[in-house]
Symmetry: C2
Subunit: 159 residues, 2 copies
């Protein structure tokens, strides 16, 4: 099973593709689709859509795992996050990939054992679980790998 | 000048194309891009993206006018609204169309003279301004025509 984790945004989108083997997890690819922060929103979304579509075509995932809303944010921030999330979900829909959403606390708990874990702990565990020589960089890519791993660790019969 | 007004959503998206002439406004096309409410969100967004892309190709607008966030909504609703809005903005970006955002009160004030106008008043004024025999239906299409008219009435040198 190959899982594409996405950390959505309207300027930078983290992605991380994890292959779940019999007893191990492997990072197939990870990185960031970035657009110029000075570009108008529709142009940024166009580049993000094109970039994510390319990632899906090149890595051939079976499904998408994505973080759901952050709790405790204000409506304005939620609207902006939704705009990035909508485009990421569209890419999944166009590739006919099923999508699984996980709350941030679920991702942290699955990867580190604690729902309140700090970013650094999540990054360390992502590196450990994937056998990477160091913590994946940048942070958006690490977060995307974490949500992909969350799906692998949480989904029943996922291997 | 030809303006595509969009009333975004994740199940139904209203659209209304208004042509601004020397002293009149004409409704070129209006309607709704609908997806099945029972379909998964990525599939709904895929259909909305395909439908809006078709509307743009067929009607050839010069720009897009869209309602900005509703005030007073909760973060969860804002996230869902953002998902639909992100896909609408992407369609504009892919067609390289500039996008103008208007607050709901701005749209109501531009069309009816009052920022607190009721839906029915807005629909009546949309029909009057466009010389339509009756109020445009469904409501999503009427709202989309209203935001397109708002841009025509508000934008400096828009005619």
């Amino acid at each position: 099973m190959r899982v594409l984790g996405i950390d959505p945004g309207t300027i930078r989108v983290g992605f991380g593709v994890v292959e779940a083997g019999a007893s191990t997890y492997r990072a197939v690819a990870f990185g960031v689709v970035a657009s110029a922060s000075t570009a108008p929103l529709p142009e940024r979304l166009r580049r993000i859509h094109a970039g994510l579509t390319r990632v899906i075509a090149r890595t051939g995932p079976d499904l998408v795992a994505i973080e759901d809303a952050f709790s405790g944010i204000n409506p304005h921030a939620a609207l902006r996050i939704g705009e990035g999330r909508g485009v990421a979900l569209l890419c999944a829909g166009e590739a006919r990939l099923p999508v699984f959403s996980y709350a941030p606390t679920e991702v942290k708990r699955a990867v580190t054992g604690g729902g309140g874990a700090r970013k650094a702990s999540v990054a360390r565990m992502v590196a450990f679980l994937l056998g990477l020589p160091r913590e994946p960089s940048p942070e958006d890519a690490s977060d995307a790998l974490a949500v992909a791993l969350c799906h692998c660790l949480r989904a029943p019969g996922s291997r």
